[in-house]
Protein backbone atom coordinates (compact mmCIF):
# COMPACT_ATOMS: atom_id res chain seq x y z
CA UNK A 1 0.00 0.00 0.00
CA UNK A 2 1.34 3.39 -1.00
CA UNK A 3 2.47 6.04 1.44
CA UNK A 4 0.08 8.97 1.30
CA UNK A 5 1.32 12.31 0.00
CA UNK A 6 2.93 14.73 2.42
CA UNK A 7 0.60 17.67 1.66
CA UNK A 8 -2.06 18.15 4.35
CA UNK A 9 -5.55 17.18 3.21
CA UNK A 10 -8.95 18.03 4.50
CA UNK A 11 -10.39 15.29 6.68
CA UNK A 12 -13.85 14.50 5.45
CA UNK A 13 -15.11 12.06 8.06
CA UNK A 14 -14.88 8.77 9.88
CA UNK A 15 -17.28 6.02 8.99
CA UNK A 16 -18.16 2.46 9.74
CA UNK A 17 -18.54 1.55 6.07
CA UNK A 18 -17.58 3.48 2.98
CA UNK A 19 -18.85 2.41 -0.43
CA UNK A 20 -16.62 3.36 -3.36
CA UNK A 21 -18.66 3.83 -6.53
CA UNK A 22 -22.07 5.44 -7.04
CA UNK A 23 -23.25 3.24 -9.90
CA UNK A 24 -26.17 0.87 -9.58
CA UNK A 25 -24.24 -1.63 -7.43
CA UNK A 26 -22.82 0.98 -5.06
CA UNK A 27 -26.18 2.75 -4.87
CA UNK A 28 -27.98 -0.48 -4.04
CA UNK A 29 -25.40 -1.34 -1.38
CA UNK A 30 -25.59 2.16 0.12
CA UNK A 31 -29.34 1.91 0.36
CA UNK A 32 -29.12 -1.51 1.94
CA UNK A 33 -26.60 -0.20 4.49
CA UNK A 34 -28.87 2.74 5.27
CA UNK A 35 -31.31 0.23 6.81
CA UNK A 36 -28.75 -0.43 9.52
CA UNK A 37 -27.33 1.52 12.39
CA UNK A 38 -23.96 3.03 11.63
CA UNK A 39 -22.12 5.79 9.84
CA UNK A 40 -21.94 5.31 6.10
CA UNK A 41 -20.56 7.19 3.13
CA UNK A 42 -20.86 6.73 -0.62
CA UNK A 43 -18.03 8.09 -2.76
CA UNK A 44 -18.53 8.88 -6.44
CA UNK A 45 -15.83 10.35 -8.65
CA UNK A 46 -18.15 12.05 -11.14
CA UNK A 47 -20.64 14.82 -10.42
CA UNK A 48 -23.51 12.39 -10.73
CA UNK A 49 -23.67 8.67 -10.00
CA UNK A 50 -24.39 5.99 -12.51
CA UNK A 51 -22.80 7.38 -15.64
CA UNK A 52 -20.12 4.72 -15.89
CA UNK A 53 -20.86 1.07 -16.61
CA UNK A 54 -24.38 1.49 -15.25
CA UNK A 55 -25.38 3.91 -17.95
CA UNK A 56 -24.36 1.46 -20.65
CA UNK A 57 -26.74 -1.07 -19.22
CA UNK A 58 -29.57 -2.38 -21.34
CA UNK A 59 -31.63 -1.88 -18.19
CA UNK A 60 -33.09 -5.37 -18.40
CA UNK A 61 -34.03 -7.44 -15.36
CA UNK A 62 -33.34 -11.09 -16.04
CA UNK A 63 -34.03 -14.51 -14.67
CA UNK A 64 -31.01 -16.80 -14.28
CA UNK A 65 -31.12 -18.42 -17.74
CA UNK A 66 -27.85 -16.68 -18.56
CA UNK A 67 -26.07 -17.93 -15.46
CA UNK A 68 -24.10 -21.20 -15.48
CA UNK A 69 -25.13 -23.67 -12.78
CA UNK A 70 -23.42 -23.30 -9.45
CA UNK A 71 -22.31 -19.72 -10.05
CA UNK A 72 -22.62 -16.92 -7.56
CA UNK A 73 -24.23 -14.75 -10.19
CA UNK A 74 -26.94 -17.32 -10.71
CA UNK A 75 -27.70 -17.32 -7.02
CA UNK A 76 -27.88 -13.54 -6.94
CA UNK A 77 -30.09 -13.22 -10.00
CA UNK A 78 -32.73 -15.53 -8.57
CA UNK A 79 -36.09 -13.83 -8.40
CA UNK A 80 -34.63 -10.55 -9.62
CA UNK A 81 -37.96 -9.38 -11.15
CA UNK A 82 -39.78 -9.90 -7.85
CA UNK A 83 -37.14 -7.96 -5.96
CA UNK A 84 -37.21 -5.13 -8.47
CA UNK A 85 -40.97 -4.90 -8.43
CA UNK A 86 -40.93 -4.48 -4.67
CA UNK A 87 -38.21 -1.88 -4.86
CA UNK A 88 -40.08 -0.02 -7.60
CA UNK A 89 -43.02 0.49 -5.25
CA UNK A 90 -40.75 1.62 -2.41
CA UNK A 91 -38.65 3.97 -4.49
CA UNK A 92 -41.43 5.32 -6.71
CA UNK A 93 -39.55 4.47 -9.92
CA UNK A 94 -40.62 2.93 -13.17
CA UNK A 95 -40.67 -0.84 -13.65
CA UNK A 96 -42.18 -2.28 -16.77
CA UNK A 97 -43.10 -5.93 -16.97
CA UNK A 98 -41.85 -7.70 -20.08
CA UNK A 99 -41.74 -11.35 -21.05
CA UNK A 100 -38.74 -13.07 -22.58
CA UNK A 101 -38.48 -14.76 -25.94
CA UNK A 102 -35.15 -16.34 -26.79
CA UNK A 103 -35.08 -17.44 -30.43
CA UNK A 104 -33.18 -20.18 -32.19
CA UNK A 105 -32.68 -18.95 -35.74
CA UNK A 106 -31.48 -22.29 -37.02
CA UNK A 107 -31.73 -25.87 -35.77
CA UNK A 108 -28.19 -25.81 -34.36
CA UNK A 109 -29.20 -23.06 -31.96
CA UNK A 110 -32.02 -25.09 -30.38
CA UNK A 111 -29.47 -26.69 -28.05
CA UNK A 112 -28.72 -23.23 -26.69
CA UNK A 113 -32.34 -22.88 -25.68
CA UNK A 114 -32.33 -26.20 -23.88
CA UNK A 115 -29.12 -25.24 -22.12
CA UNK A 116 -30.62 -21.92 -21.08
CA UNK A 117 -33.66 -23.62 -19.63
CA UNK A 118 -31.45 -26.03 -17.73
CA UNK A 119 -29.40 -23.18 -16.34
CA UNK A 120 -32.52 -21.36 -15.20
CA UNK A 121 -33.85 -24.47 -13.52
CA UNK A 122 -30.56 -25.08 -11.75
CA UNK A 123 -31.12 -21.75 -10.08
CA UNK A 124 -34.70 -22.47 -9.16
CA UNK A 125 -36.36 -20.61 -12.01
CA UNK A 126 -39.05 -22.80 -13.52
CA UNK A 127 -41.61 -21.55 -16.00
CA UNK A 128 -39.36 -21.63 -19.06
CA UNK A 129 -40.97 -23.41 -21.99
CA UNK A 130 -39.78 -24.23 -25.48
CA UNK A 131 -42.34 -23.02 -28.00
CA UNK A 132 -43.06 -23.54 -31.68
CA UNK A 133 -42.68 -21.05 -34.54
CA UNK A 134 -46.48 -20.64 -34.68
CA UNK A 135 -46.59 -19.70 -31.05
CA UNK A 136 -43.63 -17.38 -31.55
CA UNK A 137 -45.49 -15.53 -34.27
CA UNK A 138 -48.65 -15.34 -32.22
CA UNK A 139 -46.62 -13.62 -29.54
CA UNK A 140 -44.52 -11.50 -31.88
CA UNK A 141 -45.85 -11.20 -35.44
CA UNK A 142 -42.92 -9.15 -36.66
CA UNK A 143 -40.20 -11.58 -35.62
CA UNK A 144 -38.17 -13.24 -38.36
CA UNK A 145 -39.79 -16.23 -40.09
CA UNK A 146 -36.42 -17.94 -39.71
CA UNK A 147 -37.08 -18.67 -36.01
CA UNK A 148 -37.29 -22.45 -35.61
CA UNK A 149 -38.00 -22.51 -31.87
CA UNK A 150 -38.22 -20.17 -28.92
CA UNK A 151 -37.59 -20.22 -25.18
CA UNK A 152 -40.40 -18.36 -23.51
CA UNK A 153 -40.55 -17.10 -19.96
CA UNK A 154 -42.94 -14.69 -18.35
CA UNK A 155 -42.41 -12.04 -15.75
CA UNK A 156 -39.13 -10.30 -16.50
CA UNK A 157 -38.83 -6.53 -16.57
CA UNK A 158 -37.18 -3.40 -17.89
CA UNK A 159 -36.26 -0.24 -16.02
CA UNK A 160 -34.33 2.89 -16.79
CA UNK A 161 -31.16 2.48 -14.78
CA UNK A 162 -30.24 6.19 -14.27
CA UNK A 163 -33.64 6.78 -12.61
CA UNK A 164 -33.08 3.89 -10.23
CA UNK A 165 -29.51 4.90 -9.54
CA UNK A 166 -30.70 8.36 -8.52
CA UNK A 167 -33.63 7.10 -6.46
CA UNK A 168 -31.51 4.59 -4.56
CA UNK A 169 -28.95 7.21 -3.66
CA UNK A 170 -31.68 9.69 -2.66
CA UNK A 171 -33.25 7.12 -0.36
CA UNK A 172 -29.86 6.16 1.07
CA UNK A 173 -29.02 9.81 1.77
CA UNK A 174 -32.43 10.41 3.27
CA UNK A 175 -31.67 7.54 5.63
CA UNK A 176 -28.35 8.96 6.70
CA UNK A 177 -25.74 7.92 4.14
CA UNK A 178 -23.35 10.76 3.34
CA UNK A 179 -22.81 11.29 -0.36
CA UNK A 180 -19.48 12.65 -1.58
CA UNK A 181 -19.53 13.50 -5.27
CA UNK A 182 -16.52 14.38 -7.41
CA UNK A 183 -14.53 12.37 -4.91
CA UNK A 184 -12.05 10.01 -6.49
CA UNK A 185 -10.14 7.55 -4.30
CA UNK A 186 -6.42 7.64 -5.01
CA UNK A 187 -5.05 5.63 -2.14
CA UNK A 188 -6.06 3.15 0.56
CA UNK A 189 -3.89 2.71 3.63
CA UNK A 190 -4.08 0.86 6.92
CA UNK A 191 -3.98 3.09 9.96
CA UNK A 192 -2.35 2.20 13.25
CA UNK A 193 -5.70 1.50 14.93
CA UNK A 194 -6.67 -0.98 12.24
CA UNK A 195 -9.08 1.18 10.29
CA UNK A 196 -8.67 2.03 6.64
CA UNK A 197 -7.75 5.51 5.46
CA UNK A 198 -8.90 6.59 2.05
CA UNK A 199 -7.14 9.44 0.33
CA UNK A 200 -9.22 11.18 -2.28
CA UNK A 201 -8.94 14.28 -4.43
CA UNK A 202 -11.16 16.09 -1.94
CA UNK A 203 -9.60 14.91 1.29
CA UNK A 204 -9.24 11.89 3.54
CA UNK A 205 -11.77 9.59 5.16
CA UNK A 206 -11.47 6.62 7.44
CA UNK A 207 -13.64 3.54 7.75
CA UNK A 208 -13.66 0.16 9.37
CA UNK A 209 -14.89 -1.39 6.14
CA UNK A 210 -14.61 -0.34 2.54
CA UNK A 211 -16.79 -1.75 -0.21
CA UNK A 212 -15.15 -1.66 -3.62
CA UNK A 213 -18.04 -1.17 -6.04
CA UNK A 214 -16.05 1.00 -8.40
CA UNK A 215 -17.22 -0.65 -11.61
CA UNK A 216 -14.71 0.04 -14.37
CA UNK A 217 -12.18 1.10 -11.80
CA UNK A 218 -12.70 -1.76 -9.35
CA UNK A 219 -9.38 -3.25 -10.46
CA UNK A 220 -7.57 -0.02 -9.61
CA UNK A 221 -9.18 0.12 -6.18
CA UNK A 222 -8.24 -3.54 -5.75
CA UNK A 223 -4.65 -2.68 -6.56
CA UNK A 224 -4.70 0.05 -3.90
CA UNK A 225 -5.81 -2.62 -1.46
CA UNK A 226 -2.90 -4.82 -2.46
CA UNK A 227 -5.02 -7.17 -4.58
CA UNK A 228 -3.51 -6.53 -7.98
CA UNK A 229 -4.42 -10.03 -9.13
CA UNK A 230 -8.08 -9.00 -9.36
CA UNK A 231 -8.54 -7.97 -12.93
CA UNK A 232 -11.26 -6.95 -15.31
CA UNK A 233 -11.75 -7.79 -18.91
CA UNK A 234 -13.46 -5.00 -20.82
CA UNK A 235 -15.74 -4.92 -23.81
CA UNK A 236 -17.17 -1.93 -25.57
CA UNK A 237 -20.79 -2.52 -26.41
CA UNK A 238 -22.76 -0.50 -28.94
CA UNK A 239 -26.51 -0.15 -28.70
CA UNK A 240 -29.10 1.66 -30.79
CA UNK A 241 -32.31 3.37 -29.71
CA UNK A 242 -35.30 3.37 -32.02
CA UNK A 243 -38.17 5.83 -32.11
CA UNK A 244 -41.30 5.21 -30.06
CA UNK A 245 -43.33 5.19 -33.26
CA UNK A 246 -42.04 1.69 -34.06
CA UNK A 247 -42.60 0.28 -30.60
CA UNK A 248 -45.48 -1.78 -32.00
CA UNK A 249 -42.87 -4.02 -33.59
CA UNK A 250 -41.58 -5.65 -30.39
CA UNK A 251 -43.29 -6.41 -27.11
CA UNK A 252 -40.93 -8.97 -25.60
CA UNK A 253 -37.29 -9.05 -24.62
CA UNK A 254 -36.07 -10.97 -27.65
CA UNK A 255 -32.72 -12.71 -27.65
CA UNK A 256 -30.90 -14.49 -30.44
CA UNK A 257 -27.36 -15.73 -30.47
CA UNK A 258 -24.40 -14.82 -28.31
CA UNK A 259 -20.66 -14.77 -28.81
CA UNK A 260 -17.55 -12.86 -27.80
CA UNK A 261 -18.44 -10.16 -30.25
CA UNK A 262 -22.19 -9.94 -29.95
CA UNK A 263 -25.19 -10.36 -27.75
CA UNK A 264 -28.23 -10.33 -29.97
CA UNK A 265 -31.00 -8.49 -28.21
CA UNK A 266 -33.98 -6.34 -29.04
CA UNK A 267 -36.45 -5.17 -26.44
CA UNK A 268 -38.80 -2.41 -25.45
CA UNK A 269 -37.36 0.17 -23.10
CA UNK A 270 -39.13 1.28 -19.97
CA UNK A 271 -40.14 4.51 -21.69
CA UNK A 272 -41.49 2.98 -24.85
CA UNK A 273 -38.61 3.08 -27.27
CA UNK A 274 -36.89 0.01 -28.67
CA UNK A 275 -33.30 -0.82 -27.86
CA UNK A 276 -31.15 -2.92 -30.18
CA UNK A 277 -27.94 -4.50 -29.17
CA UNK A 278 -25.22 -5.40 -28.69
CA UNK A 279 -22.12 -5.36 -30.76
CA UNK A 280 -18.97 -5.92 -28.69
CA UNK A 281 -15.31 -5.25 -29.24
CA UNK A 282 -12.64 -6.07 -26.73
CA UNK A 283 -10.89 -3.04 -25.38
CA UNK A 284 -8.47 -2.05 -22.68
CA UNK A 285 -9.38 1.61 -22.81
CA UNK A 286 -11.81 2.48 -20.04
CA UNK A 287 -12.65 5.88 -21.45
CA UNK A 288 -13.19 4.85 -25.03
CA UNK A 289 -16.87 5.38 -25.60
CA UNK A 290 -16.50 6.18 -29.29
CA UNK A 291 -19.17 4.71 -31.49
CA UNK A 292 -17.82 3.43 -34.79
CA UNK A 293 -19.72 3.28 -38.05
CA UNK A 294 -18.94 -0.40 -38.24
CA UNK A 295 -20.43 -0.99 -34.80
CA UNK A 296 -23.63 0.83 -35.74
CA UNK A 297 -23.98 -1.21 -38.91
CA UNK A 298 -23.27 -4.48 -37.11
CA UNK A 299 -25.73 -3.71 -34.35
CA UNK A 300 -28.37 -2.82 -36.89
CA UNK A 301 -27.72 -6.10 -38.65
CA UNK A 302 -28.12 -8.00 -35.37
CA UNK A 303 -31.44 -6.35 -34.69
CA UNK A 304 -32.76 -6.85 -38.16
CA UNK A 305 -31.96 -10.54 -38.05
CA UNK A 306 -34.49 -10.75 -35.26
CA UNK A 307 -37.03 -8.23 -36.56
CA UNK A 308 -36.50 -7.67 -40.28
CA UNK A 309 -39.01 -4.82 -40.56
CA UNK A 310 -36.84 -2.40 -38.59
CA UNK A 311 -35.20 0.32 -40.61
CA UNK A 312 -32.26 2.60 -39.93
CA UNK A 313 -34.47 5.62 -40.55
CA UNK A 314 -36.24 4.93 -37.26
CA UNK A 315 -33.03 5.06 -35.27
CA UNK A 316 -32.86 8.13 -33.07
CA UNK A 317 -29.49 7.58 -31.48
CA UNK A 318 -26.65 5.17 -30.88
CA UNK A 319 -24.31 4.89 -27.93
CA UNK A 320 -21.46 2.82 -26.62
CA UNK A 321 -20.50 1.81 -23.14
CA UNK A 322 -17.67 -0.12 -21.60
CA UNK A 323 -18.79 -3.27 -19.83
CA UNK A 324 -16.51 -4.83 -17.27
CA UNK A 325 -16.33 -8.42 -16.11
CA UNK A 326 -13.98 -10.00 -13.59
CA UNK A 327 -11.74 -12.41 -15.46
CA UNK A 328 -10.56 -14.50 -12.58
CA UNK A 329 -12.90 -17.40 -13.12
CA UNK A 330 -13.49 -19.48 -16.21
CA UNK A 331 -17.23 -18.89 -16.42
CA UNK A 332 -16.92 -15.13 -15.88
CA UNK A 333 -18.60 -15.39 -12.49
CA UNK A 334 -18.92 -12.44 -10.15
CA UNK A 335 -16.16 -11.89 -7.65
CA UNK A 336 -17.62 -10.70 -4.36
CA UNK A 337 -15.28 -11.42 -1.50
CA UNK A 338 -13.21 -9.86 1.27
CA UNK A 339 -9.77 -8.64 0.30
CA UNK A 340 -6.94 -11.09 0.88
CA UNK A 341 -4.46 -8.34 1.70
CA UNK A 342 -6.46 -5.52 3.25
CA UNK A 343 -8.73 -6.63 6.08
CA UNK A 344 -11.95 -4.66 5.96
CA UNK A 345 -12.04 -4.22 2.20
CA UNK A 346 -14.72 -6.16 0.36
CA UNK A 347 -14.50 -6.35 -3.42
CA UNK A 348 -17.69 -6.35 -5.45
CA UNK A 349 -16.81 -7.12 -9.03
CA UNK A 350 -19.77 -8.07 -11.12
CA UNK A 351 -20.36 -8.42 -14.84
CA UNK A 352 -23.46 -9.14 -16.85
CA UNK A 353 -26.17 -9.54 -15.57
CA UNK A 354 -25.00 -7.20 -12.84
CA UNK A 355 -28.06 -5.00 -12.78
CA UNK A 356 -30.41 -7.94 -12.22
CA UNK A 357 -28.20 -9.18 -9.41
CA UNK A 358 -27.91 -5.80 -7.71
CA UNK A 359 -30.54 -6.17 -4.95
CA UNK A 360 -29.32 -9.61 -3.89
CA UNK A 361 -25.72 -8.44 -4.20
CA UNK A 362 -26.39 -5.66 -1.73
CA UNK A 363 -27.85 -8.15 0.74
CA UNK A 364 -24.91 -10.48 0.20
CA UNK A 365 -22.43 -7.67 0.89
CA UNK A 366 -24.14 -6.93 4.20
CA UNK A 367 -23.93 -10.62 5.01
CA UNK A 368 -20.19 -10.55 4.26
CA UNK A 369 -19.81 -7.56 6.54
CA UNK A 370 -21.45 -9.58 9.25
CA UNK A 371 -19.09 -12.48 8.51
CA UNK A 372 -16.18 -10.08 8.77
CA UNK A 373 -17.17 -9.25 12.28
CA UNK A 374 -19.28 -6.14 11.98
CA UNK A 375 -22.37 -6.06 14.13
CA UNK A 376 -25.25 -5.37 11.77
CA UNK A 377 -28.24 -3.94 13.58
CA UNK A 378 -31.38 -2.66 11.89
CA UNK A 379 -32.46 0.94 12.31
CA UNK A 380 -35.92 1.47 13.73
CA UNK A 381 -36.49 4.64 11.78
CA UNK A 382 -35.43 3.46 8.32
CA UNK A 383 -37.80 4.95 5.77
CA UNK A 384 -38.00 2.71 2.72
CA UNK A 385 -40.26 5.06 0.84
CA UNK A 386 -38.77 7.58 -1.45
CA UNK A 387 -41.11 9.85 -3.40
CA UNK A 388 -40.15 10.76 -6.92
CA UNK A 389 -41.95 13.37 -8.92
CA UNK A 390 -44.82 12.63 -11.27
CA UNK A 391 -44.14 12.41 -14.98
CA UNK A 392 -46.47 14.53 -17.06
CA UNK A 393 -46.22 12.57 -20.30
CA UNK A 394 -47.62 9.32 -18.93
CA UNK A 395 -50.20 10.78 -16.59
CA UNK A 396 -53.89 10.50 -17.35
CA UNK A 397 -55.82 13.64 -18.23
CA UNK A 398 -57.28 13.74 -14.73
CA UNK A 399 -53.86 13.34 -13.15
CA UNK A 400 -52.40 15.99 -15.44
CA UNK A 401 -55.04 18.45 -14.27
CA UNK A 402 -54.24 17.61 -10.68
CA UNK A 403 -50.52 18.08 -11.27
CA UNK A 404 -51.09 21.47 -12.88
CA UNK A 405 -53.38 22.46 -10.04
CA UNK A 406 -50.67 21.65 -7.52
CA UNK A 407 -47.83 23.23 -9.54
CA UNK A 408 -48.72 25.37 -12.53
CA UNK A 409 -45.31 24.72 -14.05
CA UNK A 410 -46.59 21.28 -14.98
CA UNK A 411 -48.53 23.20 -17.62
CA UNK A 412 -45.39 24.51 -19.28
CA UNK A 413 -44.06 21.89 -21.68
CA UNK A 414 -40.39 22.48 -22.48
CA UNK A 415 -39.42 19.23 -24.20
CA UNK A 416 -42.05 18.75 -26.82
CA UNK A 417 -40.89 15.33 -28.01
CA UNK A 418 -41.16 13.67 -24.60
CA UNK A 419 -43.70 16.10 -23.09
CA UNK A 420 -41.41 17.06 -20.23
CA UNK A 421 -42.57 20.08 -18.28
CA UNK A 422 -40.75 22.87 -16.52
CA UNK A 423 -41.88 21.48 -13.15
CA UNK A 424 -40.07 18.19 -13.73
CA UNK A 425 -36.92 19.86 -14.98
CA UNK A 426 -36.80 22.18 -11.96
CA UNK A 427 -37.42 19.29 -9.56
CA UNK A 428 -34.59 17.28 -11.01
CA UNK A 429 -32.19 20.23 -10.75
CA UNK A 430 -33.19 21.00 -7.17
CA UNK A 431 -32.74 17.40 -6.21
CA UNK A 432 -29.27 16.98 -7.60
CA UNK A 433 -29.23 16.95 -11.41
CA UNK A 434 -26.66 19.67 -11.98
CA UNK A 435 -25.57 18.89 -15.52
CA UNK A 436 -27.39 18.77 -18.86
CA UNK A 437 -26.95 14.99 -19.02
CA UNK A 438 -28.22 14.46 -15.48
CA UNK A 439 -31.36 16.48 -16.22
CA UNK A 440 -31.77 14.61 -19.49
CA UNK A 441 -31.51 11.14 -17.96
CA UNK A 442 -33.77 11.90 -15.04
CA UNK A 443 -36.50 13.74 -16.92
CA UNK A 444 -36.09 12.51 -20.49
CA UNK A 445 -35.84 16.05 -21.81
CA UNK A 446 -33.65 15.73 -24.88
CA UNK A 447 -34.11 11.99 -25.36
CA UNK A 448 -36.79 12.15 -27.99
CA UNK A 449 -36.89 12.54 -31.73
CA UNK A 450 -35.21 15.90 -31.93
CA UNK A 451 -32.56 14.93 -29.34
CA UNK A 452 -32.63 18.23 -27.51
CA UNK A 453 -32.89 20.44 -30.61
CA UNK A 454 -35.73 22.46 -29.11
CA UNK A 455 -35.33 22.16 -25.35
CA UNK A 456 -31.56 22.56 -24.88
CA UNK A 457 -31.63 26.36 -24.45
CA UNK A 458 -34.41 26.06 -21.86
CA UNK A 459 -32.68 23.37 -19.83
CA UNK A 460 -29.46 25.34 -19.97
CA UNK A 461 -31.18 28.48 -18.72
CA UNK A 462 -32.92 26.67 -15.88
CA UNK A 463 -29.66 25.08 -14.78
CA UNK A 464 -27.93 28.45 -14.79
CA UNK A 465 -30.79 30.20 -12.98
CA UNK A 466 -31.46 27.49 -10.39
CA UNK A 467 -27.81 26.85 -9.59
CA UNK A 468 -27.00 30.55 -9.67
CA UNK A 469 -24.15 30.16 -12.14
CA UNK A 470 -23.44 31.94 -15.41
CA UNK A 471 -24.63 30.00 -18.46
CA UNK A 472 -21.03 29.50 -19.53
CA UNK A 473 -20.51 27.34 -16.45
CA UNK A 474 -23.34 24.93 -17.26
CA UNK A 475 -21.84 21.62 -18.36
CA UNK A 476 -23.03 18.64 -20.29
CA UNK A 477 -21.52 16.06 -17.95
CA UNK A 478 -19.21 17.70 -15.43
CA UNK A 479 -16.01 19.76 -15.45
CA UNK A 480 -14.58 20.32 -18.91
CA UNK A 481 -17.81 19.76 -20.79
CA UNK A 482 -19.21 23.27 -20.83
CA UNK A 483 -22.03 23.68 -23.32
CA UNK A 484 -21.40 27.22 -24.45
CA UNK A 485 -18.19 29.03 -24.59
CA UNK A 486 -19.03 32.60 -23.82
CA UNK A 487 -21.59 35.35 -24.06
CA UNK A 488 -21.61 37.27 -27.34
CA UNK A 489 -20.42 40.85 -27.23
CA UNK A 490 -19.15 40.27 -23.75
CA UNK A 491 -17.52 43.44 -22.65
CA UNK A 492 -16.96 44.81 -19.18
CA UNK A 493 -20.18 45.00 -17.24
CA UNK A 494 -22.14 42.71 -19.50
CA UNK A 495 -23.61 39.68 -17.75
Amino acid sequence: MAVPEAAPRKHMGDYDVIVIGGGIIGAMIARQLSKLKGRFALLEKESFGGFGVSKASLSQIHLPDFCPPGTLKGKLVREAPTRFKKLAAELDVLYREVDELWLALDPAQVNNLEAARARAESHGATGFEIISPQRIHELEPQVTPKAVAGLYARGLGVIYTPEWNFALIENAVENGVQLHLQTEVIDIAKTRDGTLRLTTGQGTLTASYVINAAGLYADEIARMAGDAHLQLSLRKGTMLIFDKSVSYAVRHMIFGSFSESHSQNIAPTAHGNLILGVHYVKTDNKTDSRVSREAIQQTLKLGRELVPALSEKDMITSFSGILAQPNMSRDGDFYIAPSENAPGVIHVMVGAPGLSAAPATAEYVVQLLGDAGWRTEEKANFNPRRRGWPRFETASIAKKKQMIGADSKYGHVLCRCEQVTEAEILQSIRRGAHTMDAVKHLTRAGMGRCQGGFCTPFVLKHLADTLGIPPTRVTKSGPGSHQILKITKAVAGNE
Binding site: T488, K489, V491, N494
Partner: protein, 119 residues
Amino acid sequence: MSNLQELICITCPKGCVTTVWKEKGDIKIEGKICKKGKEYIKQEYIEPKRVLTSTVVVERSPIKRLPVRTREAIPKKKIFPAMNELSKIRIKPPLKIGEVIISNLLNTGVDVIASDDLL
Protein backbone atom coordinates in the same frame (compact mmCIF):
# COMPACT_ATOMS: atom_id res chain seq x y z
CA MET B 1 -4.79 43.34 -67.27
CA SER B 2 -4.60 44.22 -63.63
CA ASN B 3 -7.19 43.80 -60.89
CA LEU B 4 -8.52 40.60 -62.38
CA GLN B 5 -11.28 39.01 -60.32
CA GLU B 6 -13.49 35.99 -60.74
CA LEU B 7 -16.98 36.87 -59.57
CA ILE B 8 -20.09 34.75 -59.29
CA CYS B 9 -23.39 36.48 -59.99
CA ILE B 10 -25.99 35.86 -57.30
CA THR B 11 -29.03 37.60 -58.71
CA CYS B 12 -30.61 34.32 -59.80
CA PRO B 13 -29.98 30.61 -59.05
CA LYS B 14 -27.92 30.13 -62.23
CA GLY B 15 -24.85 31.58 -60.54
CA CYS B 16 -23.02 32.58 -63.72
CA VAL B 17 -19.27 32.77 -63.26
CA THR B 18 -17.57 35.79 -64.76
CA THR B 19 -14.08 37.20 -65.05
CA VAL B 20 -13.90 40.93 -64.50
CA TRP B 21 -11.12 43.42 -64.99
CA LYS B 22 -10.45 47.06 -65.60
CA GLU B 23 -9.06 48.10 -68.96
CA LYS B 24 -8.39 51.73 -69.82
CA GLY B 25 -10.84 52.85 -67.12
CA ASP B 26 -13.60 50.56 -68.43
CA ILE B 27 -14.93 47.53 -66.61
CA LYS B 28 -14.75 44.43 -68.77
CA ILE B 29 -16.80 41.33 -68.03
CA GLU B 30 -16.11 37.99 -69.62
CA GLY B 31 -18.59 35.16 -69.29
CA LYS B 32 -22.28 34.60 -69.87
CA ILE B 33 -24.28 37.23 -68.01
CA CYS B 34 -27.68 38.89 -68.32
CA LYS B 35 -28.41 42.60 -68.00
CA LYS B 36 -29.45 42.49 -64.34
CA GLY B 37 -26.46 40.34 -63.55
CA LYS B 38 -24.12 42.79 -65.25
CA GLU B 39 -25.26 45.56 -62.91
CA TYR B 40 -24.61 43.40 -59.89
CA ILE B 41 -21.19 42.28 -61.15
CA LYS B 42 -20.11 45.85 -61.88
CA GLN B 43 -21.07 47.00 -58.38
CA GLU B 44 -19.45 43.96 -56.85
CA TYR B 45 -16.25 44.75 -58.68
CA ILE B 46 -16.12 48.46 -57.95
CA GLU B 47 -17.24 48.30 -54.36
CA PRO B 48 -18.80 45.12 -52.97
CA LYS B 49 -21.58 45.98 -50.55
CA ARG B 50 -23.47 43.90 -48.04
CA VAL B 51 -26.45 44.31 -45.78
CA LEU B 52 -25.26 43.58 -42.23
CA THR B 53 -27.63 41.79 -39.86
CA SER B 54 -26.69 41.12 -36.26
CA THR B 55 -27.94 41.55 -32.70
CA VAL B 56 -27.35 44.09 -29.93
CA VAL B 57 -27.33 43.59 -26.19
CA VAL B 58 -30.60 44.34 -24.40
CA GLU B 59 -30.60 45.38 -20.77
CA ARG B 60 -33.39 45.46 -18.18
CA SER B 61 -35.40 42.81 -19.95
CA PRO B 62 -35.81 39.03 -19.96
CA ILE B 63 -35.09 39.37 -23.68
CA LYS B 64 -31.33 39.33 -24.11
CA ARG B 65 -30.76 40.38 -27.70
CA LEU B 66 -32.50 42.53 -30.28
CA PRO B 67 -31.94 41.79 -33.97
CA VAL B 68 -30.74 44.78 -35.98
CA ARG B 69 -29.84 45.44 -39.60
CA THR B 70 -28.30 48.09 -41.75
CA ARG B 71 -31.11 49.68 -43.69
CA GLU B 72 -29.20 49.21 -46.91
CA ALA B 73 -25.97 47.58 -47.99
CA ILE B 74 -22.70 49.04 -46.72
CA PRO B 75 -19.22 48.51 -48.11
CA LYS B 76 -18.03 44.99 -47.40
CA LYS B 77 -14.77 46.28 -45.95
CA LYS B 78 -16.67 48.04 -43.17
CA ILE B 79 -18.46 44.89 -41.95
CA PHE B 80 -16.07 43.94 -39.14
CA PRO B 81 -15.64 47.53 -37.91
CA ALA B 82 -19.45 47.73 -37.93
CA MET B 83 -19.69 44.56 -35.80
CA ASN B 84 -17.33 46.22 -33.37
CA GLU B 85 -19.55 49.29 -33.16
CA LEU B 86 -22.60 47.12 -32.57
CA SER B 87 -20.92 45.26 -29.73
CA LYS B 88 -20.77 48.48 -27.75
CA ILE B 89 -24.49 49.18 -28.01
CA ARG B 90 -26.76 48.67 -25.01
CA ILE B 91 -30.46 49.25 -25.40
CA LYS B 92 -33.50 48.80 -23.23
CA PRO B 93 -37.21 48.49 -23.91
CA PRO B 94 -39.40 49.82 -25.33
CA LEU B 95 -38.27 50.08 -28.92
CA LYS B 96 -40.22 49.77 -32.13
CA ILE B 97 -39.24 47.85 -35.25
CA GLY B 98 -37.50 50.21 -37.67
CA GLU B 99 -36.26 52.57 -34.98
CA VAL B 100 -32.77 53.90 -35.61
CA ILE B 101 -30.14 52.38 -33.33
CA ILE B 102 -27.08 53.98 -34.93
CA SER B 103 -27.41 56.85 -37.31
CA ASN B 104 -25.01 57.02 -40.27
CA LEU B 105 -22.97 53.97 -39.31
CA LEU B 106 -19.26 54.62 -39.74
CA ASN B 107 -19.97 57.42 -42.19
CA THR B 108 -21.59 55.16 -44.72
CA GLY B 109 -24.76 57.25 -44.77
CA VAL B 110 -26.63 54.09 -43.76
CA ASP B 111 -28.54 53.73 -40.48
CA VAL B 112 -28.67 50.65 -38.30
CA ILE B 113 -32.30 49.96 -37.42
CA ALA B 114 -34.15 47.61 -35.09
CA SER B 115 -35.31 44.53 -36.93
CA ASP B 116 -38.01 43.65 -34.40
CA ASP B 117 -40.18 45.23 -31.73
CA LEU B 118 -38.76 45.24 -28.22
CA LEU B 119 -41.69 45.50 -25.86
